[in-house]
Symmetry: C2
Subunit: 297 residues, 2 copies
């Protein structure tokens, strides 16, 4: 059983690992893509809490996700996998929507683009960066399987999904009648739409990726929405049901999967030598504080 | 008052303009991004009918939208603004999701890419193409303001939004408790996220565009989701509330708007001489039948 940490940081005075228990407040058994400022006063939007936006960075085909609890008075928000180039766009949107950005989160140490988390922290110092402990990277909060990341009355659950890198995690919206339904899984590069991340760099392992996806993602309800870190063909979303049926790699048995992954013959990642060292320290190479463990990977 | 046409084509035997009245069947006062095959049997998905997918074509930054009524036994579906290059992707997805594609629809005669509607018809001959009568283009069905395009128990309402081109329309999901909430407006190039289409070609008019957006789109409920034909900065969706507050052009008065549009100094559209003649005939220039009115614009 994974150890359970609960990250519920007071919005006005951030501190780690408060033990305050989760108190469901509204019966919210459906999800919405949008829940606007005046939602709480509108019958049509009663109990709809999640504001969700998918954002795209074209050069690296990266998706950044903005999630916020707009039923909470502070409208606390988080960004998953922000990109350095699009930080200004993302922060403008956060401001326009009246949100309070509290977390900038990575699914893993990206090799194809520089994360925006460090840059965000220079512009909004109260934002806390989050990455997995297993990534051996520097961030304000290092999370592990079973941890929960709370924003208002909503939360993300952390699932360890190594294989593309050693430290890959998948963030899944909470289970429960007060959380968005269907659930949403932010899979990073572990599971892509009809594909998956490569396994030939950064401690990658086809065996490990196969086990991760099958045990941690395919075990979710079929209607769970899959939001990956990238798509190169213009898809924006998939579901567990679709990927278990149509993913051309992960529907195979493990031996076949490993054979596919060993024979991809992909070029050396063109950004890896810039992106990985930078992303080990939240995208800022010139941080004055030497990153913990950054030299060991 | 716009004349009301009702397009409710029997799925097995398509014919025009049946007068069958709309009969709300389910109390579906919320929307979902995804409603999977077994939805009807699941308590969590009861009454959720709309399957919705946003798809992106990177070269022209075009969004194609797939909508289907998955509570209907036939799972009837339509595509809005398909692109020729991505037709195989779109049709594969339709097939994998078990949908029956009945319409391929354009918001207008595009100048920046070739529509996929003609190509779709060569691959799935039962699909009917749709465009506005005002576009003076060739299609199976020519629609006007007030028409309704039914797919299963769901429908799109047609609103005339000229100004980018003479024949631009916006498709809005139906009003009513049995239709998706919030409503969704597919605005083509009339209204973009924090922008709008240019008005210096194809019968464009800044005056007309300003009037169109204010009277036909900004008059929708604030929570209405805006899904444009393009985005160049990585946004995927906006709302009427956001655009009435933050659109840098359309929040100005009309004189200022016209001045902005007259001074954009945009380059000549690089695809226009290929795309427009082709799109006047559903993207197929070599159709044996001479298109109606295609030579007049």
């Amino acid at each position: 059983m994974p150890r359970i940490h609960t990250l519920r940081l007071p919005l006005s005075n951030l501190s780690l690992f408060s033990s305050q228990s989760q108190k469901p407040r509204l019966n919210n058994n459906y999800r919405t893509m949008m829940n606007y400022t005046k939602a709480a006063s509108s019958q049509a939007f009663k109990n709809k809490k999640l504001l969700f936006r998918q954002l795209f960075e074209k050069d690296s085909s990266t998706y950044t996700y903005l999630l916020a609890d707009v039923a909470h008075p502070d409208k606390p928000a988080l960004l998953i996998d922000p990109v350095d180039k699009t930080v200004d766009r993302d922060l403008s949107l956060v401001k326009e929507l009246g949100l309070k950005l509290i977390y900038a989160i990575n699914t893993h140490v990206h090799a194809d683009h520089v994360t925006g988390t460090g840059l965000i922290k220079t512009k909004v110092p109260s934002v806390k960066s989050i990455i997995s402990k297993a990534s051996k990277s520097k961030a304000d909060l290092l999370i592990e399987a079973g941890d929960k990341i709370h924003f208002g009355d909503l939360f993300l659950e952390v699932r360890a999904t190594p294989g593309h890198t050693l430290g890959c995690v998948t963030y899944v919206t909470g289970d429960g009648s007060d959380q968005p339904q269907p659930r949403m899984a932010f899979t990073g590069d572990a599971l892509l739409i009809r594909g998956c991340g490569r396994t030939d760099f950064q401690g990658g392992s086809a065996h490990q990726l196969y086990q991760s996806v099958h045990s941690q993602i395919f075990s979710l309800p079929k209607e769970t929405l899959i939001y990956p870190a990238h798509d190169y063909r213009g898809f924006t979303v998939s579901t567990v049901g679709e990927e278990t049926q149509y993913n051309p790699r992960l529907t195979k048995d493990e031996e076949m999967f490993k054979s596919i992954m060993e024979n991809l013959n992909l070029p050396y990642p063109k950004m890896i030598d810039i992106a990985v060292p930078s992303n080990m320290v939240c995208g800022l190479q010139d941080l004055s504080v030497k990153p913990v463990d950054a030299s060991s990977n």
